[in-house]
Symmetry: C2
Amino acid sequence: MTNKNSSSKTGNNPEKTTKEKIFDVSLDLFSQKGFDAVSVREIAREVGIRESSIYNHYKSKEAILDAIMEYFMSELQSGPPEEEMDKLMETPELFFEVGARDFIEGMNTPNTQKIWRLISIELYHNEKIREFFKKELLEAPINGWEKIFTKMMEKKVIKEVDPKVLAYEYFSFALYLYFEYFVLNYNESMQTFMEVAWDRMADHAEFILDSIKIH
Amino acid sequence: MTNKNSSSKTGNNPEKTTKEKIFDVSLDLFSQKGFDAVSVREIAREVGIRESSIYNHYKSKEAILDAIMEYFMSELQSGPPEEEMDKLMETPELFFEVGARDFIEGMNTPNTQKIWRLISIELYHNEKIREFFKKELLEAPINGWEKIFTKMMEKKVIKEVDPKVLAYEYFSFALYLYFEYFVLNYNESMQTFMEVAWDRMADHAEFILDSIKIH
DNA sequence: GTCTATAAGTGGATAGAC
DNA sequence: GTCTATCCACTTATAGAC
Protein backbone atom coordinates (compact mmCIF):
# COMPACT_ATOMS: atom_id res chain seq x y z
CA MET A 1 0.00 0.00 0.00
CA THR A 2 2.06 2.97 -1.21
CA ASN A 3 0.87 6.35 -0.05
CA LYS A 4 0.90 8.85 -2.85
CA ASN A 5 0.94 11.64 -0.33
CA SER A 6 4.05 10.45 1.45
CA SER A 7 6.16 13.20 -0.05
CA SER A 8 3.91 15.77 1.56
CA LYS A 9 5.33 14.56 4.85
CA THR A 10 8.50 16.52 4.29
CA GLY A 11 6.81 19.61 2.95
CA ASN A 12 9.87 20.80 1.08
CA ASN A 13 9.39 18.92 -2.16
CA PRO A 14 9.54 21.59 -4.87
CA GLU A 15 7.79 19.42 -7.47
CA LYS A 16 4.55 18.49 -5.79
CA THR A 17 1.87 16.93 -7.92
CA THR A 18 -1.51 18.64 -8.02
CA LYS A 19 -2.95 15.89 -5.85
CA GLU A 20 -0.28 16.52 -3.25
CA LYS A 21 -0.92 20.25 -3.41
CA ILE A 22 -4.62 19.64 -2.81
CA PHE A 23 -3.78 17.39 0.12
CA ASP A 24 -1.45 19.92 1.72
CA VAL A 25 -3.66 22.95 1.15
CA SER A 26 -6.70 21.10 2.47
CA LEU A 27 -4.86 19.99 5.59
CA ASP A 28 -3.73 23.55 6.12
CA LEU A 29 -7.23 24.99 5.84
CA PHE A 30 -9.07 22.17 7.63
CA SER A 31 -6.73 22.38 10.60
CA GLN A 32 -7.29 26.13 10.85
CA LYS A 33 -11.04 26.34 10.42
CA GLY A 34 -12.46 22.84 10.49
CA PHE A 35 -13.79 20.69 7.66
CA ASP A 36 -17.21 22.30 7.28
CA ALA A 37 -15.90 25.84 7.29
CA VAL A 38 -13.65 25.24 4.29
CA SER A 39 -15.17 25.19 0.82
CA VAL A 40 -13.89 23.39 -2.25
CA ARG A 41 -13.73 26.83 -3.89
CA GLU A 42 -11.27 27.95 -1.26
CA ILE A 43 -9.06 24.91 -1.63
CA ALA A 44 -9.03 25.31 -5.40
CA ARG A 45 -8.17 29.00 -5.19
CA GLU A 46 -5.28 28.31 -2.82
CA VAL A 47 -3.95 25.52 -5.03
CA GLY A 48 -4.32 27.68 -8.12
CA ILE A 49 -6.84 25.64 -10.09
CA ARG A 50 -10.61 25.66 -10.63
CA GLU A 51 -13.04 23.88 -8.31
CA SER A 52 -14.01 21.30 -10.87
CA SER A 53 -10.41 20.20 -11.29
CA ILE A 54 -10.35 19.09 -7.67
CA TYR A 55 -12.72 16.30 -8.60
CA ASN A 56 -10.17 14.91 -11.01
CA HIS A 57 -8.02 13.94 -8.02
CA TYR A 58 -10.50 13.28 -5.23
CA LYS A 59 -14.02 12.09 -5.80
CA SER A 60 -15.45 14.36 -3.11
CA LYS A 61 -14.49 16.82 -0.42
CA GLU A 62 -14.96 14.08 2.16
CA ALA A 63 -12.46 11.91 0.29
CA ILE A 64 -9.76 14.49 1.00
CA LEU A 65 -10.47 14.22 4.71
CA ASP A 66 -10.38 10.44 4.48
CA ALA A 67 -6.98 10.60 2.78
CA ILE A 68 -5.68 12.86 5.54
CA MET A 69 -6.87 10.52 8.26
CA GLU A 70 -5.47 7.50 6.45
CA TYR A 71 -2.12 9.21 6.21
CA PHE A 72 -2.23 10.05 9.92
CA MET A 73 -3.00 6.50 10.98
CA SER A 74 -0.17 5.16 8.86
CA GLU A 75 2.19 7.57 10.60
CA LEU A 76 1.14 6.65 14.12
CA GLN A 77 4.14 5.19 15.81
CA SER A 78 3.96 2.53 18.43
CA GLY A 79 6.12 2.79 21.51
CA PRO A 80 9.49 1.17 22.14
CA PRO A 81 9.83 -2.64 21.97
CA GLU A 82 8.96 -4.92 24.92
CA GLU A 83 12.50 -5.89 25.93
CA GLU A 84 13.68 -2.32 26.18
CA MET A 85 10.61 -1.47 28.23
CA ASP A 86 11.44 -4.10 30.81
CA LYS A 87 14.87 -2.66 31.39
CA LEU A 88 13.60 0.90 31.54
CA MET A 89 11.07 -0.01 34.19
CA GLU A 90 13.76 -0.59 36.77
CA THR A 91 14.29 3.16 36.94
CA PRO A 92 10.95 5.00 36.79
CA GLU A 93 12.65 8.37 36.27
CA LEU A 94 14.05 7.23 32.95
CA PHE A 95 10.79 5.62 31.99
CA PHE A 96 8.84 8.83 32.38
CA GLU A 97 11.37 10.67 30.29
CA VAL A 98 11.10 8.16 27.48
CA GLY A 99 7.30 8.13 27.70
CA ALA A 100 7.10 11.90 27.57
CA ARG A 101 9.49 12.06 24.64
CA ASP A 102 7.42 9.54 22.67
CA PHE A 103 4.23 11.42 23.38
CA ILE A 104 5.62 14.81 22.47
CA GLU A 105 7.57 13.78 19.40
CA GLY A 106 4.54 12.03 17.96
CA MET A 107 2.93 15.47 17.80
CA ASN A 108 5.84 17.40 16.53
CA THR A 109 6.16 17.08 12.77
CA PRO A 110 4.39 19.92 10.93
CA ASN A 111 1.81 17.68 9.30
CA THR A 112 0.95 15.62 12.35
CA GLN A 113 0.57 18.82 14.38
CA LYS A 114 -2.00 20.03 11.89
CA ILE A 115 -3.82 16.72 11.94
CA TRP A 116 -3.93 16.71 15.73
CA ARG A 117 -5.60 20.07 15.58
CA LEU A 118 -7.99 18.89 12.85
CA ILE A 119 -8.92 15.86 14.92
CA SER A 120 -9.71 17.99 17.92
CA ILE A 121 -12.10 20.09 15.82
CA GLU A 122 -13.82 17.17 14.14
CA LEU A 123 -14.36 15.25 17.39
CA TYR A 124 -17.74 16.94 17.63
CA HIS A 125 -19.29 16.14 14.29
CA ASN A 126 -17.39 13.15 13.01
CA GLU A 127 -18.19 9.93 14.78
CA LYS A 128 -15.45 7.94 13.05
CA ILE A 129 -12.80 10.39 14.20
CA ARG A 130 -14.26 10.49 17.69
CA GLU A 131 -14.23 6.72 18.03
CA PHE A 132 -10.68 6.60 16.69
CA PHE A 133 -9.59 9.19 19.20
CA LYS A 134 -11.23 7.41 22.11
CA LYS A 135 -9.88 4.01 21.26
CA GLU A 136 -6.40 4.68 19.92
CA LEU A 137 -5.44 7.88 21.60
CA LEU A 138 -7.14 7.58 24.97
CA GLU A 139 -8.03 4.01 25.97
CA ALA A 140 -4.96 2.38 24.46
CA PRO A 141 -2.44 4.65 26.22
CA ILE A 142 -4.36 4.44 29.50
CA ASN A 143 -4.38 0.65 29.36
CA GLY A 144 -0.71 0.68 28.41
CA TRP A 145 0.24 2.82 31.37
CA GLU A 146 -1.88 0.73 33.70
CA LYS A 147 0.10 -2.36 32.68
CA ILE A 148 3.37 -0.53 33.08
CA PHE A 149 2.52 0.66 36.57
CA THR A 150 1.30 -2.80 37.54
CA LYS A 151 4.64 -4.26 36.51
CA MET A 152 6.52 -1.55 38.36
CA MET A 153 4.62 -2.43 41.50
CA GLU A 154 5.43 -6.11 41.04
CA LYS A 155 9.08 -5.19 40.72
CA LYS A 156 8.64 -3.08 43.84
CA VAL A 157 10.16 0.03 42.25
CA ILE A 158 7.07 2.10 43.10
CA LYS A 159 4.51 2.09 45.89
CA GLU A 160 1.33 0.03 45.73
CA VAL A 161 -1.60 2.15 44.59
CA ASP A 162 -4.51 1.52 42.25
CA PRO A 163 -2.73 1.20 38.88
CA LYS A 164 -5.76 2.45 36.94
CA VAL A 165 -6.00 5.58 39.05
CA LEU A 166 -2.28 6.09 38.64
CA ALA A 167 -2.54 5.67 34.87
CA TYR A 168 -5.18 8.40 34.75
CA GLU A 169 -3.18 10.61 37.05
CA TYR A 170 -0.22 10.38 34.74
CA PHE A 171 -1.88 10.42 31.34
CA SER A 172 -4.75 12.85 31.89
CA PHE A 173 -2.20 15.62 32.30
CA ALA A 174 -0.84 14.86 28.86
CA LEU A 175 -4.37 15.11 27.47
CA TYR A 176 -4.78 18.40 29.27
CA LEU A 177 -1.62 19.74 27.65
CA TYR A 178 -2.88 18.59 24.29
CA PHE A 179 -6.15 20.40 24.87
CA GLU A 180 -4.46 23.57 26.05
CA TYR A 181 -2.12 23.70 23.08
CA PHE A 182 -4.19 22.49 20.17
CA VAL A 183 -7.50 23.98 21.17
CA LEU A 184 -6.86 27.01 23.32
CA ASN A 185 -3.54 28.37 22.14
CA TYR A 186 -3.14 27.03 18.63
CA ASN A 187 -1.25 29.49 16.47
CA GLU A 188 -0.94 32.04 19.21
CA SER A 189 2.64 31.26 19.89
CA MET A 190 5.50 30.39 17.63
CA GLN A 191 6.66 27.72 20.02
CA THR A 192 6.09 24.16 18.98
CA PHE A 193 4.16 21.77 21.14
CA MET A 194 7.48 20.15 22.00
CA GLU A 195 8.98 23.25 23.54
CA VAL A 196 5.85 24.01 25.51
CA ALA A 197 5.08 20.51 26.69
CA TRP A 198 8.52 19.33 27.67
CA ASP A 199 8.95 21.38 30.85
CA ARG A 200 5.35 20.94 31.93
CA MET A 201 5.53 17.17 31.48
CA ALA A 202 8.79 17.12 33.41
CA ASP A 203 7.22 18.98 36.34
CA HIS A 204 4.27 16.65 36.21
CA ALA A 205 6.38 13.48 36.09
CA GLU A 206 8.44 14.74 39.00
CA PHE A 207 5.33 15.34 41.06
CA ILE A 208 3.93 11.89 40.33
CA LEU A 209 7.29 10.27 40.94
CA ASP A 210 7.76 12.00 44.28
CA SER A 211 4.48 10.61 45.38
CA ILE A 212 4.96 6.98 44.30
CA LYS A 213 8.67 6.29 44.55
CA ILE A 214 9.95 4.16 47.34
CA HIS A 215 12.23 6.27 49.48
CA MET B 1 -30.90 43.88 34.41
CA THR B 2 -33.74 41.40 34.27
CA ASN B 3 -33.16 38.40 32.06
CA LYS B 4 -36.17 37.63 29.92
CA ASN B 5 -34.93 34.09 29.51
CA SER B 6 -34.68 33.38 33.19
CA SER B 7 -37.75 31.17 33.17
CA SER B 8 -36.07 28.93 30.63
CA LYS B 9 -33.69 27.99 33.42
CA THR B 10 -36.28 25.70 34.95
CA GLY B 11 -37.43 24.20 31.70
CA ASN B 12 -40.82 23.23 33.06
CA ASN B 13 -42.72 26.42 32.44
CA PRO B 14 -45.80 25.41 30.44
CA GLU B 15 -46.42 28.92 29.13
CA LYS B 16 -43.19 29.84 27.48
CA THR B 17 -43.15 32.90 25.29
CA THR B 18 -42.06 32.45 21.68
CA LYS B 19 -38.78 34.16 22.49
CA GLU B 20 -38.14 31.66 25.26
CA LYS B 21 -39.01 28.79 22.97
CA ILE B 22 -36.52 30.06 20.40
CA PHE B 23 -33.89 30.36 23.13
CA ASP B 24 -34.46 26.83 24.40
CA VAL B 25 -34.69 25.17 21.01
CA SER B 26 -31.58 26.98 19.80
CA LEU B 27 -29.61 25.95 22.87
CA ASP B 28 -30.74 22.38 22.34
CA LEU B 29 -29.67 22.30 18.71
CA PHE B 30 -26.48 24.36 19.09
CA SER B 31 -25.25 22.14 21.90
CA GLN B 32 -25.85 19.03 19.82
CA LYS B 33 -24.42 20.11 16.49
CA GLY B 34 -22.66 23.42 16.96
CA PHE B 35 -23.69 26.91 15.91
CA ASP B 36 -22.77 26.69 12.23
CA ALA B 37 -24.44 23.33 11.68
CA VAL B 38 -27.84 24.61 12.80
CA SER B 39 -29.93 26.69 10.40
CA VAL B 40 -32.54 29.28 11.25
CA ARG B 41 -34.93 27.13 9.21
CA GLU B 42 -34.35 24.25 11.61
CA ILE B 43 -34.87 26.34 14.71
CA ALA B 44 -38.10 27.74 13.29
CA ARG B 45 -39.40 24.29 12.39
CA GLU B 46 -38.68 22.96 15.87
CA VAL B 47 -40.35 25.97 17.50
CA GLY B 48 -43.34 25.68 15.18
CA ILE B 49 -43.13 29.03 13.40
CA ARG B 50 -41.74 30.31 10.10
CA GLU B 51 -38.15 31.44 9.69
CA SER B 52 -39.01 35.05 9.20
CA SER B 53 -40.80 35.15 12.55
CA ILE B 54 -37.54 34.39 14.31
CA TYR B 55 -36.32 37.85 13.33
CA ASN B 56 -39.16 39.40 15.25
CA HIS B 57 -37.47 38.22 18.47
CA TYR B 58 -33.77 38.18 17.66
CA LYS B 59 -32.18 40.45 15.13
CA SER B 60 -29.92 37.68 13.82
CA LYS B 61 -28.89 34.08 14.38
CA GLU B 62 -25.75 35.34 16.12
CA ALA B 63 -27.90 37.33 18.55
CA ILE B 64 -29.39 34.07 19.82
CA LEU B 65 -25.91 32.78 20.60
CA ASP B 66 -25.08 36.04 22.33
CA ALA B 67 -28.19 35.72 24.48
CA ILE B 68 -27.21 32.19 25.46
CA MET B 69 -23.70 33.24 26.46
CA GLU B 70 -25.04 36.23 28.38
CA TYR B 71 -27.37 33.94 30.29
CA PHE B 72 -24.49 31.58 31.05
CA MET B 73 -22.25 34.31 32.39
CA SER B 74 -25.01 35.60 34.62
CA GLU B 75 -25.43 32.10 36.05
CA LEU B 76 -21.74 31.56 36.80
CA GLN B 77 -21.40 31.15 40.49
CA SER B 78 -18.40 32.27 42.42
CA GLY B 79 -16.97 30.05 45.12
CA PRO B 80 -17.63 30.18 48.86
CA PRO B 81 -16.85 33.39 50.82
CA GLU B 82 -13.36 34.20 52.13
CA GLU B 83 -13.95 33.54 55.84
CA GLU B 84 -15.34 30.09 55.25
CA MET B 85 -12.39 29.30 53.00
CA ASP B 86 -9.92 30.12 55.74
CA LYS B 87 -11.51 27.65 58.09
CA LEU B 88 -11.79 24.92 55.46
CA MET B 89 -8.09 25.20 54.68
CA GLU B 90 -7.14 23.75 58.01
CA THR B 91 -8.32 20.36 56.80
CA PRO B 92 -7.34 19.82 53.15
CA GLU B 93 -9.56 16.72 52.84
CA LEU B 94 -12.66 18.80 53.42
CA PHE B 95 -11.39 21.52 51.15
CA PHE B 96 -11.03 19.21 48.20
CA GLU B 97 -14.52 17.91 48.76
CA VAL B 98 -16.00 21.38 48.74
CA GLY B 99 -13.94 22.36 45.70
CA ALA B 100 -15.02 19.31 43.76
CA ARG B 101 -18.66 19.84 44.69
CA ASP B 102 -18.55 23.44 43.49
CA PHE B 103 -16.94 22.42 40.21
CA ILE B 104 -19.34 19.61 39.52
CA GLU B 105 -22.53 21.33 40.58
CA GLY B 106 -21.72 24.32 38.42
CA MET B 107 -22.06 21.96 35.47
CA ASN B 108 -25.09 20.08 36.56
CA THR B 109 -28.25 21.98 35.71
CA PRO B 110 -29.73 20.94 32.35
CA ASN B 111 -29.18 24.29 30.68
CA THR B 112 -25.66 24.87 31.93
CA GLN B 113 -24.71 21.35 30.83
CA LYS B 114 -25.83 22.20 27.33
CA ILE B 115 -23.95 25.48 27.36
CA TRP B 116 -20.78 23.77 28.54
CA ARG B 117 -21.05 21.48 25.58
CA LEU B 118 -21.78 24.41 23.25
CA ILE B 119 -18.75 26.28 24.54
CA SER B 120 -16.50 23.31 23.93
CA ILE B 121 -17.64 23.19 20.31
CA GLU B 122 -17.35 26.90 19.66
CA LEU B 123 -13.88 27.19 21.18
CA TYR B 124 -12.49 26.59 17.71
CA HIS B 125 -14.28 29.22 15.67
CA ASN B 126 -15.40 31.81 18.17
CA GLU B 127 -12.64 33.95 19.56
CA LYS B 128 -14.84 35.64 22.15
CA ILE B 129 -15.89 32.30 23.61
CA ARG B 130 -12.33 31.01 23.53
CA GLU B 131 -11.01 34.04 25.40
CA PHE B 132 -13.81 33.76 27.93
CA PHE B 133 -13.00 30.11 28.49
CA LYS B 134 -9.29 30.75 28.91
CA LYS B 135 -9.71 33.63 31.28
CA GLU B 136 -12.68 32.70 33.41
CA LEU B 137 -12.68 28.94 33.30
CA LEU B 138 -8.98 28.15 33.16
CA GLU B 139 -6.71 30.94 34.37
CA ALA B 140 -9.00 32.15 37.14
CA PRO B 141 -9.40 28.71 38.78
CA ILE B 142 -5.70 27.93 38.38
CA ASN B 143 -4.75 31.21 40.05
CA GLY B 144 -7.33 30.56 42.74
CA TRP B 145 -5.95 27.14 43.54
CA GLU B 146 -2.40 28.46 43.51
CA LYS B 147 -3.34 30.97 46.20
CA ILE B 148 -5.11 28.33 48.22
CA PHE B 149 -2.16 25.96 48.13
CA THR B 150 0.22 28.79 49.02
CA LYS B 151 -1.85 29.55 52.10
CA MET B 152 -2.00 25.89 53.04
CA MET B 153 1.77 25.74 52.91
CA GLU B 154 2.03 28.83 55.09
CA LYS B 155 -0.27 27.17 57.59
CA LYS B 156 1.93 24.07 57.31
CA VAL B 157 -0.99 21.73 56.63
CA ILE B 158 0.63 20.48 53.41
CA LYS B 159 4.18 19.94 52.21
CA GLU B 160 6.19 22.66 50.48
CA VAL B 161 6.05 22.21 46.71
CA ASP B 162 5.73 24.65 43.82
CA PRO B 163 2.16 25.94 44.33
CA LYS B 164 1.69 26.64 40.60
CA VAL B 165 2.66 23.09 39.69
CA LEU B 166 0.36 21.79 42.39
CA ALA B 167 -2.51 23.93 41.11
CA TYR B 168 -2.08 22.44 37.65
CA GLU B 169 -1.79 18.95 39.07
CA TYR B 170 -5.08 19.37 40.83
CA PHE B 171 -7.09 21.35 38.32
CA SER B 172 -5.92 19.84 35.02
CA PHE B 173 -7.62 16.60 35.99
CA ALA B 174 -10.92 18.43 36.31
CA LEU B 175 -10.41 19.87 32.85
CA TYR B 176 -9.66 16.40 31.58
CA LEU B 177 -12.92 15.10 33.04
CA TYR B 178 -14.76 17.98 31.42
CA PHE B 179 -13.19 17.11 28.08
CA GLU B 180 -13.95 13.42 28.41
CA TYR B 181 -17.56 14.00 29.32
CA PHE B 182 -18.63 16.94 27.18
CA VAL B 183 -16.58 16.16 24.11
CA LEU B 184 -15.97 12.45 23.95
CA ASN B 185 -18.96 10.91 25.67
CA TYR B 186 -21.67 13.54 25.43
CA ASN B 187 -25.06 11.92 25.14
CA GLU B 188 -23.69 8.40 25.17
CA SER B 189 -24.65 7.73 28.72
CA MET B 190 -27.67 8.69 30.72
CA GLN B 191 -25.54 9.51 33.70
CA THR B 192 -25.11 13.13 34.50
CA PHE B 193 -21.71 14.73 34.72
CA MET B 194 -22.16 14.78 38.48
CA GLU B 195 -22.48 11.04 38.83
CA VAL B 196 -19.55 10.39 36.55
CA ALA B 197 -17.22 13.02 37.90
CA TRP B 198 -17.74 12.59 41.60
CA ASP B 199 -15.90 9.30 42.09
CA ARG B 200 -13.14 10.18 39.69
CA MET B 201 -12.53 13.51 41.39
CA ALA B 202 -12.52 11.75 44.75
CA ASP B 203 -9.84 9.29 43.59
CA HIS B 204 -7.85 12.15 42.16
CA ALA B 205 -8.10 14.27 45.29
CA GLU B 206 -7.04 11.31 47.39
CA PHE B 207 -3.99 10.74 45.23
CA ILE B 208 -2.93 14.37 45.40
CA LEU B 209 -3.62 14.50 49.12
CA ASP B 210 -1.57 11.39 49.83
CA SER B 211 1.34 13.00 48.12
CA ILE B 212 1.24 16.41 49.80
CA LYS B 213 -0.16 15.83 53.26
CA ILE B 214 2.12 15.97 56.24
CA HIS B 215 2.19 12.57 57.84
C1' DG C 1 -5.80 17.38 -16.56
C1' DT C 2 -7.83 21.94 -16.66
C1' DC C 3 -11.25 24.76 -18.17
C1' DT C 4 -16.38 27.07 -18.61
C1' DA C 5 -20.99 26.57 -17.59
C1' DT C 6 -24.45 25.06 -14.90
C1' DA C 7 -27.28 22.23 -11.97
C1' DA C 8 -29.65 21.73 -7.64
C1' DG C 9 -29.67 22.74 -3.19
C1' DT C 10 -29.07 25.42 1.34
C1' DG C 11 -27.75 29.42 3.93
C1' DG C 12 -29.23 34.09 6.42
C1' DA C 13 -32.10 37.79 5.99
C1' DT C 14 -35.88 41.27 4.34
C1' DA C 15 -40.53 43.32 2.46
C1' DG C 16 -44.95 43.74 3.01
C1' DA C 17 -49.80 41.61 3.54
C1' DC C 18 -52.78 40.27 7.26
C1' DG D 1 -46.47 38.74 15.84
C1' DT D 2 -46.93 35.52 12.15
C1' DC D 3 -47.37 34.68 7.54
C1' DT D 4 -45.98 34.26 2.12
C1' DA D 5 -42.83 35.41 -1.16
C1' DT D 6 -38.49 36.49 -2.49
C1' DC D 7 -33.44 37.81 -2.70
C1' DC D 8 -28.91 36.59 -3.34
C1' DA D 9 -24.74 34.66 -1.88
C1' DC D 10 -22.69 30.42 -1.45
C1' DT D 11 -22.42 25.23 -1.29
C1' DT D 12 -20.94 20.48 -3.53
C1' DA D 13 -20.79 18.31 -7.61
C1' DT D 14 -21.31 17.16 -12.78
C1' DA D 15 -21.15 17.64 -18.14
C1' DG D 16 -18.65 18.42 -21.79
C1' DA D 17 -15.29 21.46 -24.64
C1' DC D 18 -10.34 21.89 -25.26
